[in-house]
């Protein structure tokens, strides 16, 4: 494995992904990530000089909608997915700005 993932990196990625990993899971993730990066490195072997970065896989562009209201009130259906709700709103753990 050419890519060695450090403990700090796996810790940081865990924070970004909001994941709490056990020591075992961390070791497993480190080796998985290293192998994935090795695989991606293969792409680096290609000569891409003069190749425009691709922004979309389909040859489609300019898909627009007109500025017309098409949706009505569907609060009940949307809230039916919420684990908890109150006063027509989604209830979440206390969050500060």
């Amino acid at each position: 494995m050419a890519n060695i993932i450090s403990d700090e990196t796996i810790e940081y990625v865990g924070i970004l992904a909001k994941l709490e990993l056990s020591d075992e899971e961390k070791e497993q993730a480190k080796s998985d990530m290293g192998r994935m990066l090795d695989y991606i490195d293969k792409l680096g072997e290609l000569d891409t000089t003069g190749v425009e970065p691709m922004s979309h896989v389909f040859p489609v562009q300019n898909v627009f909608r007109e500025d017309v209201v098409t949706n009505g009130d569907m609060r009940e259906r949307l809230l039916s997915n919420a684990p908890e709700q109150k006063d027509g709103m989604f209830m979440v753990p206390k969050t500060f700005d």
Binding site: S55, F64, T95
Partner: protein, 477 residues
Amino acid sequence: MAKEYETVIGLEVHVELATKTKIFCGCSTAFGAGPNTQTCPVCTGMPGSLPVLNKQVLEYAIAVGLATNCDITRYAKFDRKNYFYPDNPQNYQISQLYLPICRNGSVEIETKDGGVKSVGIHEIHMEEDAGKLIHDEWEDCSLVDYNRSGVPLIEIVSEPDMRSAEEVIAYLEKLRLIIQYLGASDCKLQEGSMRADVNLSVREVGAREFGTRTEMKNLNSFKAISRAIAGETERQTDLIESGEKVIQETRRWDDTRGESYAMRSKEDAQDYRYFPDPDLVPIVVSDEMLADIRSRQPEFRSEKMKRYKEEYDIPDYDIEIITGSKRMADLFEETMAICRQPKKVSNWLMGETLRLMKEKEVEVEDLRFSPENLAKLIALTDSRAINSSVAKEVFEVMFDTNVDPEQYVEEKGLKTVNDEGALKKTVEEVIAANPQSVEDYHNGKEKAVGFLVGQTMKAMKGKADPAMVNRLLKELL
């Protein structure tokens, strides 16, 4: 000798666009609806839902770009900015990092010494707003309303070209006027349809490098912006003077306490891991699209000022004030279209309107009286159906409730009494009741007439034509 410092300021201005629907779905953007009643699977981030760009958002963004001398990006796209926060249901905000719609623009502002300064615009990009978090003390939790989620925004990022609070305010006012003239937003700072974040650093005068900057948030008035700039300049200067380092961070301005504090870093660093949004296809701006938007650009302030000067015989100062707000210019032109009396319309706007706005603390956007009613009021005074002091009274009622002046004058019986016989009788009574003034008048005291006119007007409850009263008095004396 003490070192001299200068403040370097750049702004990130978010403007909420005046579209009927959200940026990526057909939900209404109307204000004041019940929580989550204007939401759908797209703007609540339900798996499998697909965003589709509102064409009006693109057109507004391009129109603002053209009006601020930007290059329009012919091949633009959207990217995902990743972060976790409950007001952001997708766990990413759809924004533009790599190919924003507008770049390299500029806005000219007037400086204190009467000169002109160009403030560069780094870029303008399109993005979506987040939902609203409400803290529930009772349950000790937060509640989320996604009605604002997906409301279209443009973010206008300036270059660090400003050096003082005055320049910042001038830049914001200029930007606001351009956007209001375009009808792209009402740009109300208090209500959050225009929000400015201030990036500020301090350096020694003559230094080449910029100092470390901070970003100040939560500024919702021009006054708060000025105070925050003064406060942050002082804080950073003190740190530098005492040999400490300015830390690059986001700070929140507390305007009531007049100080800022570092916002709790949300555990993770600002690592947004942007990548192209695969749900949205690229935007290709054609020559036709650009020409079409360009042809629909409105008459901006400088053109309007020039035209007013040529077409209407009103003072330069009036022109400056009237064109200084889109709403005022619209009121002027719409009233003018009905009554064709520029001077009189301008007088009502410059006089009573400005006076009452100041007295009642009403913003120009919140003016209520219609052009139709102002034109009617002008017609009523022209035909001498009411005198000028009654007209002012009626205008105040119109200012508060947009009442129809014709109806109001009729109902309240405010019409001037043009019946010479009735007026003559009152004048005779006033003369009889004030022998002293009559004597004064005969002894050459012209002023006495004024007193007698006043007494007559009082007896007529203000509903007389003062010129007629004056004439009758002189005849009868």
